[in-house]
C-alpha cells in the first residue's frame, strides 16, 4: 500500500512542480524540492486531496510545512488516513 501511495504522491508532485522527472525519496524535505514554498504547499495539499481522496485538517496542513517534516511524514499521514 505504501508503495502505491508513494507513486500517486510522486505523480501529484510532478504535476504541481511541473517536473515530470521528479523522483520522491522519503527523506526529502521542502528544501530538497525546487519551488516548494508556502504557495506551492497549498497547491500541493489541494492536489493531494483531490488525487488521493483524503482531507487534511487545518492543523495537519500547518504541521506538514514545519521544519523536520519529510516526504516520509506525509506518507505516514496519508497511510494513516487511508487505513482509517
Amino acid at each position: 500500500m505504501r508503495d502505491t501511495i508513494r507513486r500517486e504522491i510522486e505523480e501529484v508532485f510532478r504535476n504541481v512542480f511541473g517536473d515530470q522527472e521528479l523522483v520522491l525519496q522519503e527523506s526529502m524535505t521542502a528544501a530538497d524540492v525546487d519551488g516548494w514554498d508556502s504557495l506551492a504547499h497549498i497547491n500541493l495539499i489541494i492536489a493531494l486531496e483531490k488525487r488521493l481522496g483524503v482531507r487534511f485538517a487545518t492543523a495537519e496542513i500547518s504541521r506538514l510545512k514545519e521544519d523536520g517534516q519529510t516526504v516520509g511524514s506525509l506518507l505516514d499521514l496519508v497511510e494513516q488516513k487511508k487505513r482509517a
Binding site: Q20, N43, I61
Partner: protein, 644 residues
C-alpha cells in the same frame, strides 16, 4: 507522429472525458504540452492551451495549465489586445492572478498585472504615491469580501439606523472608486459581497434588518443601483450561489492561506473576472448560431416529419428542448443575435418554425437562417458576412461531434463548445462559458434583431430601386448628432468596444476615459442616431476628437456596419467641419491605424477628401482636411433633426 498531432489527440481526449477528468488523461496531456514546448511548436501549444481553457477546470489542472501559459509568454508574438490589471483586495491574490491571466490569454489578451499588498487596498487607493498608481492600471479589480464592510449594524438596530449605515457604506465605496478614477483614469471592477452560509438567526435571518445576511443583501442591492458607468460590479455572490454556499467556502484555506473561496471554485471565479475584462476590450461574442435537428428539437425533421420530432409537453426530452429554446430566446431578447445553420431543405426547416405549435423560437427571432446541404464552415462565413460581424463573434452550437470538429478545424476563431449528450444539460454547458458577457444593456440591445430584420427590408428596397441615389433618397433618413450625455454614455462605450470593422483607430476608450473627456473643453464627443422609413437604428456612430493647436484631431471614429454606405460618414464630416470652423481651427486631422479587421476603412479619409500627411510612423496613416471659411457640403442623404 509529430508532437502537435499528439497534442491535438490528447486535447480532444481530455475534452471528451469532460468532468470526469482522470489524472492519467491529464498527466498525458501535460506531457503533450511539454513535448510541443520542447520541440519549439509554440503557436500550436498556444492554440491547444486556448482550446482547453474552460471555466470548469479543477484547480490543480488550471494551475498547471496556467504555468504552461506563463512559460509561453516570451515565446509567442504579442497579442494586439492588451490589458493592465491591478488586483487589490483583502484575500490573497497569488493563486487567482495566474488563473485570470490564463483565461485572458485564452480570450486573446496579453495582460500585465499588479498585485496589491494583502489587505492594503484602501491605503493603495488613497496614497497618490502608491505602487498601484506607479503601475498605471487600465483596470482595477477590487477583490474584496464582506469583512471589508466598514459599517456594520448591531442586531437590534432600528431600520432607520440601518438605512443610515447602508448610505454611509455606499458613500465609502463610491469615494474610493472616485479617487481611483481621478488618479488613474481607470475602469473599476468591484466585487459585491457573498452572503455567509451560516446564519445566527437561522430561518429568521432575512426578516431581521440588522442581521448580517440582510445587511449584506441591502449593500449588494445599493451597489447595483448606484454604480457609476466607470465601475462594473462583479457578481461574486451569484457565483457562490451557483456553487452552493457551503461548497464556496473552505474555511481551512481561508485560515491557512486567505484564499477568497474554496480552491475548486477559483478557476470559475477567475474566468468570471476575465470575461468582464475581455468584454471591456470588445471580445464578447455577438451571435449564437444554432443547429436544428437534435439541437433545437429531438429527431430529424427531414425523416421524422413535422409531427414526428420531439418537442414540447408530450415527453420530458421534448420539454428539455423547449427549455433550451427559451434560453436562446432570452439571449436574443437582450441583444444576442440568433442564427440557424442546419443541413436540411430550407422549406422543411422553416416549416417547423412556422407551423409547430411547441416552437418557442420563431422566424422573427432568427437574424440569419441558413438551411442547405453545404458544409457548415461555409455557412458560418456567410452568416457572419450577412450580419456584418466577424466569424470570431460567433458561437456555434451543434449536437454532432463531427460538425463541431469540422468547424474547429476550418474556423478556429469560432467558439464551439462541447455539448453534452443529454439535452437537459445544454443550457448549463453553454451558459458557463460566459460567451455573451455584457457590461450594460441599452435600448439598442433590446431592439437589435428588429434592426437586422429592418435591414433585410432595406436590402429588398435597394434591389428594387434602379439607382443608389434614388434608393438613399427614398429612405428619408433623419439623424440626431450631439455630445455624449449621461443616458448615452454606456451605449457609446459599448459601440467603441464592439466595433471592429468600421473603427479607424481601435482605441478601446473606457467609460472612465469618456467621463474625463466630457470634463475637458478641448475634447469634442459626438453620438449619431439614425432613423429612416423602415425604423429607428438607435445610436450607430461615436466620434471623439480633440482640438490641439490649429487642428481638430479625430481620436476615435466608430460606426455600426449596419449603416454602411448610407452617407453617415459624409453627414458626420459636414458636422465636424462646422465645429472646427466655429472654434477657429485650420484643419481636421484624421488617423488610421490598421488592424486585422478594419481594412474596410483604410481609404476612409481619402474618400472624404483628406490629403495624406507625410511622416506617420509604422503602418499608421495621418490625413488632413483644410478648413475654409465656407461650410462643407459633402453630399449626404441624411437630414439633421435639431430638436433632441
Amino acid at each position: 507522429m509529430s508532437p502537435t498531432k499528439d497534442l491535438a489527440d490528447l486535447t480532444e481526449r481530455f475534452l471528451s472525458v469532460g468532468h470526469a477528468q482522470s489524472p492519467q488523461v491529464f498527466a498525458a496531456l501535460m506531457k503533450g504540452f511539454q513535448a510541443t514546448m520542447s520541440a519549439g511548436c509554440y503557436a500550436d501549444t498556444a492554440f491547444f492551451l486556448r482550446r482547453i481553457a474552460l471555466p470548469t477546470l479543477d484547480y490543480t489542472s488550471a494551475q498547471a495549465l496556467s504555468r504552461v501559459r506563463s512559460r509561453l509568454r516570451s515565446k509567442i508574438p504579442a497579442s494586439p489586445q492588451t490589458a493592465r490589471l491591478a488586483v487589490i483586495g483583502s484575500s490573497t491574490t497569488t493563486q487567482l492572478v495566474p488563473l485570470i491571466d490564463f483565461f485572458l490569454f485564452a480570450a486573446g489578451v496579453d495582460a500585465d498585472f499588479y498585485e496589491g499588498g494583502y489587505g492594503l487596498f484602501r491605503q493603495e487607493i488613497l496614497d497618490p504615491a502608491s505602487e498601484l498608481y506607479q503601475f498605471a492600471p487600465k483596470v482595477i479589480f477590487l477583490a474584496t469580501g464582506w469583512r471589508d464592510l466598514a459599517n456594520r449594524p448591531a442586531l437590534a438596530d432600528a431600520r432607520l439606523d440601518i438605512v443610515r449605515l447602508i448610505t454611509a457604506e455606499q458613500a465609502d465605496w463610491s469615494s474610493l472608486w472616485q479617487v481611483a478614477r481621478e488618479r488613474s483614469g481607470c475602469q473599476i471592477i468591484q466585487n459585491n459581497f457573498v452572503l455567509p452560509a451560516c446564519r445566527a438567526l437561522a430561518n429568521h435571518e432575512r426578516r431581521q434588518a440588522g442581521s448580517l445576511s440582510s445587511y449584506i443583501s441591502s449593500i449588494n442591492e445599493s451597489l447595483a443601483q448606484a454604480v457609476p458607468p466607470f465601475v462594473t460590479i462583479h457578481d461574486v455572490e451569484h457565483l457562490a450561489t451557483c456553487w452552493g454556499r457551503w461548497k464556496w467556502d473552505d474555511p481551512r484555506f481561508v485560515h491557512q492561506a486567505k484564499l477568497p473561496c474554496a480552491p475548486e471554485c477559483l478557476p470559475d471565479y477567475a474566468h468570471s473576472v476575465a470575461s468582464i475584462v475581455a468584454a471591456q476590450l470588445g471580445l464578447a461574442k455577438k451571435c449564437l448560431v444554432l443547429d436544428l435537428d437534435n439541437t433545437l428539437w429531438g429527431g430529424v425533421v427531414g425523416d421524422d416529419g413535422l409531427g414526428g420530432i420531439r418537442l414540447g409537453q408530450t415527453d420530458p426530452e421534448g420539454e428539455a428542448y423547449r427549455a433550451f429554446q427559451h434560453y436562446a430566446k432570452s439571449l436574443r431578447h437582450r441583444g444576442v443575435l440568433l442564427a440557424v445553420c442546419s443541413k436540411n431543405n430550407e422549406e422543411t426547416a422553416r416549416e417547423v418554425f412556422e407551423k409547430h405549435s411547441e416552437m418557442v423560437l420563431r422566424l422573427e427571432d432568427i437574424a440569419c437562417f441558413k438551411a442547405n446541404w453545404e458544409d457548415k464552415a461555409t455557412n458560418l462565413c456567410r452568416i457572419a458576412q450577412e450580419l456584418n460581424i466577424g466569424t470570431n463573434s460567433l458561437v456555434f452550437v451543434d449536437d454532432s461531434p463531427a460538425e463541431r470538429a469540422l468547424v474547429r478545424k476550418l474556423l478556429p476563431e469560432v467558439a464551439v463548445p462541447e455539448l453534452p449528450t443529454d439535452v437537459a444539460d445544454y443550457i448549463q454547458a453553454l451558459d458557463r462559458h460566459r460567451y455573451f458577457q455584457t457590461l450594460s444593456v441599452e435600448t439598442e440591445d433590446l431592439r437589435r434583431t428588429e434592426y437586422y430584420r429592418a435591414e433585410v427590408s432595406r436590402r429588398d428596397a435597394q434591389t428594387s430601386a434602379s439607382d443608389i441615389e434614388g434608393f438613399l433618397a427614398s429612405l428619408n433618413m433623419v439623424a440626431q448628432i450631439g455630445p455624449i450625455m449621461p443616458d448615452t454614455l454606456n451605449r457609446s462605450v459599448q459601440l467603441i468596444q464592439r466595433s471592429n470593422q468600421f473603427n479607424l483607430t481601435t482605441r478601446r476608450r473606457t467609460a472612465a476615459e469618456l467621463l474625463a473627456f466630457l470634463e475637458d473643453e478641448s475634447w469634442i464627443t459626438r453620438t449619431v442616431s439614425l432613423s429612416d422609413r423602415f425604423g429607428d437604428n438607435g445610436i450607430i456612430s461615436v466620434i471623439l476628437a480633440r482640438a490641439r493647436e490649429d487642428a481638430l484631431e479625430i481620436d476615435t471614429w466608430v460606426m455600426s456596419c449596419r449603416v454602411l454606405k448610407r452617407t453617415v460618414e459624409q453627414f458626420v464630416l459636414n458636422h465636424l467641419y462646422g465645429l472646427a470652423r466655429q472654434r477657429g481651427l485650420k484643419r481636421i486631422r484624421g488617423e488610421f491605424i490598421p488592424t486585422a479587421k478594419n481594412k474596410l476603412v483604410r481609404d476612409h479619409y481619402a474618400n472624404l477628401g483628406f490629403a495624406p500627411v507625410a511622416g506617420a510612423q509604422g503602418e499608421r496613416t495621418l490625413w488632413d482636411l483644410t478648413v475654409a471659411d465656407d461650410s462643407l457640403q459633402t453630399t449626404t442623404y441624411i437630414r439633421e433633426e435639431t430638436n433632441a
